[in-house]
């Protein structure tokens, strides 16, 4: 992919830094003509990945960083999020759509990312995720 927008962010685990980076990525999508549905999908996935990185990976420790690599081209957007935590095994996350799990308040972030992105890879040991959105 030839990226029309490419940026690497190294962010402290703080809401304001995460928000600023997210807004930069969304503005780039908008500038490159991605439609409302695409922006919704990328925003949701990026928010979930960054929230997981800050909360579960970096344990809300602002001294720990989240690295976001974003490349946006004409036909796809690739987002790579890495935290400084120990990682997790995505296979161990219970299916939140199972009837017995529906009223459990957590565990939906990764499934939403998988639903809205074309391709998702969680790299061992589980502290890095690569998400690809294919433009319709």
């Amino acid at each position: 992919m030839t990226a029309a927008f490419s940026q690497r962010f190294v962010l402290p685990s703080r809401r304001e830094d995460i928000e600023a980076a997210t807004e930069t990525v969304l503005a780039a999508l908008d500038r490159l003509g991605y439609d409302k549905a695409a922006v919704f999908a990328v925003r949701l996935s990026l928010e979930e990945a960054l929230a997981n990185a800050v909360r579960h990976g970096n344990k809300d420790d602002a001294r720990r960083h989240v690295t976001l690599l974003c490349e946006i081209g004409a036909s796809e957007a690739v987002l790579d999020v890495q935290d400084e935590g120990e990682g997790f095994d995505p296979g161990m996350v219970p299916d939140p759509t199972a009837v017995e799990n529906l009223d459990i308040p957590s565990g939906r972030g990764l499934m939403l990312i998988r639903s809205f992105m074309a391709d998702v890879t969680v790299h061992p040991p589980g502290n890095r995720i690569t998400m690809r959105y294919h433009r319709a």
């Binding site: 549905a37 919704f40 928010e47 759509t97 009223d103 459990i104 308040p105 957590s106 939906r108 499934m111």
Partner: protein, 119 residues
């Protein structure tokens, strides 16, 4: 019931509490916790609470916000109450469908339908 720093607009009519969000994006963890605490206070202040949460003007919400809604739903049910959701943007409704939470919550297209559904 609605303070200057509230994330909610709350009104009461015919025994039904109507709640709307101030924010277009319900993403920030601190705001979500505040929203959860505010609605929980409303639910806890009533016997058999009837609560309508309207998503008018809400553009985005996160899985943490879904989690808070589930916690509120559990609380309402434990008090033998009724919770309804309404006015959900189509893209957000898709999130409810993907997570199958459209099976857990009673979701209505608009406020009128939701109000009419209370027993």
């Amino acid at each position: 019931m609605t303070s200057a720093t509230s994330r909610l607009r709350v009104s009461e009519s015919d025994g039904i509490t109507r709640v709307e969000f101030v924010d277009r994006n319900i993403l920030d963890e601190a705001n979500i916790q505040q929203i959860g605490a505010e609605i929980t206070r409303i639910v806890d202040s009533k016997t058999s609470p009837k609560v309508l949460i309207s998503f008018t003007n809400v553009d985005h919400l996160s899985s943490a916000a879904l989690g808070t809604l589930i916690t509120i739903n559990n609380r309402v049910r434990s008090k033998d109450g009724q919770l309804r959701l309404a006015n959900i943007d189509p893209q957000i409704h898709e999130v409810f469908k993907i997570t199958k939470l459209d099976k857990l919550f009673q979701i209505h297209e608009d406020t009128q339908q939701a109000l009419a559904s209370f027993k």
